[in-house]
Amino acid sequence: MGIEFEANVAKLLETISIEEAEGLFNWLLETKDAKVDVSQLDHLHTAVFQLLLILKPDIIGAPQANDLKMLLNIQGGPYEENNIYH
């Protein structure tokens, strides 16, 4: 549970709740070349997910859940970036 920060990698462990959003947000603003490790991620609150959309850090690793892979764009493929707005 929670986020482990080590150097420039934030490891998202299991379930990340809305309470962690602020911490991650600040870390992402401060850290250069920030990377987010999602290999052990089970679920993240929308607010946290939203942060990734906004600040676009590099995502490393792949979560187990297929739908999460899909939502975090960890599949590679001929599609445009996630940040499309109307």
């Binding site: 679920h43 929308t46 939502l71 599609y79 499309i84």
Partner: protein
């Protein structure tokens, strides 16, 4: 009670019974349109009737049931055992309400409440039936959340590039499988986080989620990140689910204002990509593929596609198309047109353009003959089969011609011109067999094309042909004029006829008096001859009334399908109930008395007889156990049998238990035969069930059953083969009313003994009576027959009279296949009587089966020979 209300109840009960019957029939035949329609109509009628009388709660419940039935018959929901359960429960409540109306003319508040709850439950379940799980929110929403039929949805213009290729394939596969594909646009409101919502969670939990993406709906690039409000939700979601809109809207119920639903054109996702190079091998592939398709050689087609995939470069356009070919070929032959389009695309190297019939947005099955045609064909087949039995040539020819015409017209109407041509050729051969063959093949082919799931393999034992014939006959009977008569009127009629029969009996006495006392022998003769006429007429009258009281066994049998279904479900056993001979008739009292014992017997079979499915499979038996309820007439008796293919009764176990309970002696334990051992289950206080279940209770069962049957003049017997099954037979007299008895006298008192039991009357001397082990016996024509003094049995402390030679008068009876000699004083001929069984605490006097009023007004006690045997 108001006559109209009475009518409502009578009709209502009939309609309810029809509902029960159809509901159970449907479980075996869930797609049967006729049944679904009938069910809907019946419930609709019930609803309408209840409305006339202002029984609001009943109407509401029936309305909910009707709506549910409507959805089912429209094909929006498929019928399953959950729906059957809920409808059965609803009908039970309606039935209970009818009972209340019958006694109190109103419905109690309690029951109305129950009805309301059930109606709400059904309405909520409308939607739940379409999805396995609903989102975990409290169910206390106002029940008006049923959506009316949805407005036509718009097609969402998908950007297919946003969907990964493998997921596109999943979506198209789902589409080809005929699943509903719905596109959801979920735009959570900005403050949703403060409401404790997590939209991402809701999205991920979507039932049958195929694809989803989340994206920002605002452009925040320009904004200074430091001023960002991270707790404001600016993320939208696009979701594709393999579910229909109703299920999804149920899932998103709490945020319904924030979601919108769309259809998508699944085939627009088929966008092959890659380098486009011409290659002559493509042409070869396409032409051989097309050839295989024409030949319907699907396996070879698939193999060809596979090898094409192997030698084409993965970057090429053709390879990409072939991958789609693979997907579509799994759903041949219905995807043939699409496959052709894809093949063309390989040829032309242009993107495939799929044309779908705009009226269908779902893939339809290949046009088959309609349901009605299949039914029609089936009946024609039956007619032809019956034709083979007739000898009347003209009839044969005419009927054959009409069958031919029917089939021709059918094929014309269904626009099956190829079939029509083939059929016309066959028809010209004038061979009934060939026509039969043709029809049979038609029916088989059309049934194969139906993409229904295979039903779990229930063994369908062969239905005896008589069943079909008899069914036709009963249908004809019911077409004849039927009068509904109040049961009490028939009973009154029967009583009057009974009195008439007794009253007429007095005339011979009078005739005798006229001759003996008044010496007018001529008059006496005249009276006697007139009496003969009188007698004949009153006997015929009695027969006629008895006929009126005859009802079919089906009135008792009809409750068993439901009973078996409910109990087998409870016990987790698979059981099939077969009913034979339900149109067999017997007197209504007999039939009614049959009901409880039979229920007990069937419950026993279900509970103790039939094994659970796993055990059956282990034993090499079919998983589904069978219970056969059979009724047939034999002479003046009706035989009812309950046969199961369960465990059978273990004679050794039974013997042991009986011995343990002190019901038999050690000697009997060792000498008793298997057949006799099985009969021990009829002893009071017997039960080998280790655990008494709530269903069958303790061993009071078989004893009570036997008594109940014997009380109405019947008998029970049992046959069982260990491991194979058990058959319990009940034999009942066709009518209970009039008995023929022999009048005997002992100690100056008269008694009656039913003639059925009497074999003969003989004189027996004291010398011939021997005592063995304290029991009296004698030899009659080489057989050893036990004897008793009737005075002893009746507790009369007097010796019996003997004639001048010192001989006793005796009757030899046959009771339960055993002989018994009864010593009496005198015989007085026979008489017809109406036996009135004892009531109240006279019932406990078992030695008498009842009393009768004689022609001279005296009361005759009628002895029950079965008790004499026991007494011995």
């Amino acid at each position: 009670m108001d006559a109209l209300l009475n009518q409502f109840i009578v009709e209502g009960k009939e309609l309810l019974q029809r509902v029960y019957d159809v509901l159970i029939e449907l479980e075996e035949d869930t797609e049967n349109k006729e049944l679904l329609d009938e069910l809907f109509r019946v419930v609709h009628t019930l609803k309408g009737n209840s409305g006339l009388f202002n029984f609001g709660a009943m109407t509401k419940l029936l309305h909910a049931s009707e709506d549910l039935m409507n959805r089912v018959r429209e094909g929006e929901i498929s019928y399953n055992s959950d729906i059957a359960d809920v409808l059965l429960e609803a009908m039970d409540i309606v039935s209970a309400m009818m009972d209340e109306i019958a006694s109190n003319e109103t419905i109690s508040h309690e029951l109305s409440q129950k009805a309301q709850e059930k109606a709400d439950h059904i309405r909520a379940k409308f939607l739940a039936f379409k999805s396995a799980e609903t989102h975990n929110k409290e169910d206390k929403k106002p029940q008006s959340s049923i959506k009316e039929d949805t407005k036509p949805k718009n097609i969402y213009k998908l950007n297919h590039k946003l969907i990964p290729e493998n997921i596109k394939k999943e979506i198209v596969k789902a589409y080809l499988e005929g699943k509903d594909i719905t596109f959801v646009k979920y735009s959570p409101e900005e403050e949703c986080f403060f409401k404790g919502e997590d939209p991402l969670y809701l999205v991920r939990a979507t039932p049958n989620l195929l694809w989803a993406r989340g994206y920002l709906r605002e452009d925040i690039n320009a904004q200074d990140p430091l001023t960002l409000d991270i707790y404001k939700c600016i993320t939208d979601f696009e979701i594709i689910g393999a579910e229909d809109e109703n299920t999804l809207s149920e899932h998103f119920n709490y945020v319904s204002e924030q979601v919108r639903f769309f259809d998508i054109d699944a085939l627009s996702l088929v966008v092959p990509e890659g380098t486009k190079t011409q290659d002559p091998m493509y042409e070869d592939f396409v032409s051989s593929a097309i050839k295989l398709l024409e030949e319907n050689d699907i396996d070879s087609f698939k193999k060809t596609v596979e090898s094409f995939l192997e030698w084409t470069s993965p970057d090429s356009f053709a390879h990409s198309v072939a991958q789609w070919l693979k997907v579509f070929s799994d759903y041949l032959p219905k995807t043939k047109p699409f496959v052709y389009t894809l093949l063309k695309s390989i040829e032309t190297l242009n993107p495939p353009v799929f044309k779908i019939n705009p009226e269908e947005n779902k893939l339809s099955k290949t046009p088959t003959l309609s349901e009605e045609s299949m039914l029609l064909l089936k009946t024609q087949l039956k007619v032809l089969e019956n034709l083979k039995e007739t000898n009347d040539e003209t009839f044969k020819t005419n009927t054959f011609v009409s069958v031919l015409n029917t089939v021709k017209n059918l094929l014309k109407a269904q626009q099956q011109s190829d079939l029509l041509q083939t059929f016309e050729e066959i028809a010209s051969s004038e061979s009934i067999d060939k026509v039969e063959e043709f029809i049979k093949t038609l029916l088989e082919n059309k049934q194969e094309e139906k993409s229904a799931l295979e039903k779990p393999a229930e063994e369908k034992p062969e239905e005896p042909k008589e069943k079909i014939d008899q069914k036709d006959q009963t249908e004809k009977k019911s077409a004849a004029k039927v009068l509904k008569v109040d049961e009490s009127r028939i009973d009154k009629l029967m009583n009057l006829v009974g009195e008439l029969v007794i009253a007429k009996n007095s005339i011979p006495y009078l005739a005798k008096k006229v001759a003996d006392v008044y010496g007018m022998t001529d008059l006496s003769k005249e009276i006697k001859s007139q009496y003969a006429v009188f007698n004949r007429i009153s006997e015929e009258l009695q027969d006629a009334v008895m006929q009126i009281r005859m009802v079919t066994v089906s009135t008792v049998f009809q409750r068993f399908p439901r009973l078996v279904r409910d109990i087998s479900k409870k016990l987790n056993k698979k059981v099939k109930l077969i009913i034979e001979g339900e149109e067999t008739e017997a007197d209504k009292d007999v039939i009614e008395a049959l009901s409880d014992p039979l229920i007990h017997i069937v419950r026993n079979s279900l509970d103790h007889g039939l094994e659970p499915p796993e055990e059956r499979i282990q034993k090499g038996k079919p998983e589904t156990g069978t219970i056969i309820l059979r009724a047939k007439q034999e002479g003046d008796h009706v035989i009812i049998e309950c046969e199961d293919d369960g465990r059978g009764i273990d004679p050794n176990k039974v013997k042991q238990k009986a011995y343990q309970k002190g019901l038999i002696s050690e000697e009997q334990l060792s000498t008793m035969s298997d057949d006799e051992a099985i009969k021990l289950i009829f002893l009071p206080g017997f039960s080998t069930a280790e655990v008494t279940t709530e269903l069958s209770g303790r061993g009071v069962g078989m004893d009570v059953v036997r008594r109940a049957v014997e009380e109405i003049g019947g008998s029970v017997s049992i046959k069982s083969i260990l491991g194979k099954g058990t058959t319990i037979s009940i034999s009942l007299p066709l009518s209970m009313a009039v008995s023929n008895i022999m009048l005997i006298e002992t100690a100056e008192e008269r008694f009656g003994i039913p003639i059925d039991y009497i074999l003969e009357t003989i004189k027996i001397s004291k010398r011939d009576l021997h005592s063995i082990n304290g029991k009296m016996v004698s030899t009659v024509r080489g057989k050893i027959v036990p004897f008793i003094y009737l005075n002893d049995a009746l507790d009369i402390q007097k010796p019996h009279l003997t004639d001048e030679d010192g001989n006793y008068l005796s009757l030899i009876l046959m009771v339960n296949k055993e002989y018994l000699g009864i010593i009496v004083d005198r015989f007085h001929g026979t008489a017809d009587i109406i036996l009135k069984p004892f009531e109240g605490f006279l019932k406990e006097i078992n030695i008498f089966s009842g009393s009768a009023i004689m022609g001279d007004g005296s009361v005759l006690l009628v002895i029950n020979p079965k008790e004499l045997v026991r007494w011995e």
